[in-house]
């Protein structure tokens, strides 16, 4: 089935697509499929850019994913919303880092370090 381009998707569909990509990323990580993960990373960037381009910066539509069952979905939603909800996102990064649910806890911890050092500058 042909998938709509991001430009043709509703915000709801973009959030759904973001979630699907994160779940696929989780599988790629579990199987050590780095090339697949990196392709999925690029796919997710396209979805985020589309949400950002929508009027009012609709990346805030990802905020409900903070409560998703899957840790990879939560982590990616948090990192994607650092620019639009910095305090809430940072708090959630800390929660994930302290969850000991790896590898997401490891990435969340490193993101906190990188934010503090000014290496990671969400835009």
């Amino acid at each position: 089935m042909k998938r709509n381009s991001p430009q043709e998707m509703t915000i709801h569909q973009l959030v759904q697509r973001f979630t699907e990509i994160a779940l696929e990323q989780d599988q790629a990580l579990l199987r050590n499929e780095h090339r697949r993960f990196n392709r999925l990373f690029d796919d997710m960037e396209i979805v985020e850019e589309e949400l950002k381009a929508r009027e009012g910066d609709q990346r805030s539509a990802l905020l409900p994913l903070y409560h998703h069952d899957n840790a990879q979905v939560r982590l990616k939603a948090v990192k994607a919303t650092l620019a639009v909800a910095p305090e809430a996102a940072r708090l959630m990064l800390k929660v994930i880092a302290e969850s000991r649910q790896y590898p997401q806890a490891g990435e969340a911890g490193m993101s906190l370090v990188n934010l503090d050092r000014g290496i990671f500058k969400p835009t």
């Binding site: 579990l30 990373f41 069952d69 490891g106 990435e107 490193m110 969400p122």
Partner: protein
């Protein structure tokens, strides 16, 4: 056995399959740098790998001497699965680094910066106590 969510059960099965049994390696509590370095110096052990704090191949590619790369200060012994998790983190694209992998981000960086990232990665993946 305690109740596990499906995803956790999957991960446990992976650990069992990959490491050859839940012999405690993956569940080790964080240890000091000295303890991890001493363990590396004492040799190999089932379920564990010798891990380079500064990635070996990337450091070789950037011209660092092998005496530094394989020196005792750069070697720690950690759970094999943790070793894979950290290596995986180095190899996957990351928003923190503008979409580069950490390995790509560190290309051309000095020893001190690589050490800082290497130690942070060990800490944040629950291996190193600081």
């Amino acid at each position: 056995m305690a109740h596990q969510e499906p995803r956790e059960r999957h991960r446990t099965q992976q650990v069992v399959g990959r490491v050859g049994g839940l012999d405690g390696a993956y569940l080790d509590p964080p240890r000091t740098l000295e303890a991890l370095q001493e363990a590396a110096a004492s040799g190999s052990k089932a379920g564990y790998d010798i891990h380079h704090i500064i990635e070996k191949t990337a450091a070789e590619d950037d011209g660092f001497p092998r005496s530094m790369i394989n020196g005792p200060e750069n070697l720690v012994r950690i759970s094999r699965y943790k070793h894979w998790e950290i290596t995986s983190w180095y190899m996957t694209k990351n928003k923190d680094y503008g979409g580069l992998t950490p390995r790509e981000f560190l290309r051309g960086k000095d020893w001190a910066e690589r050490t800082q990232v290497g130690l942070d990665a060990l800490t944040m993946h629950g291996v190193l106590k600081r």
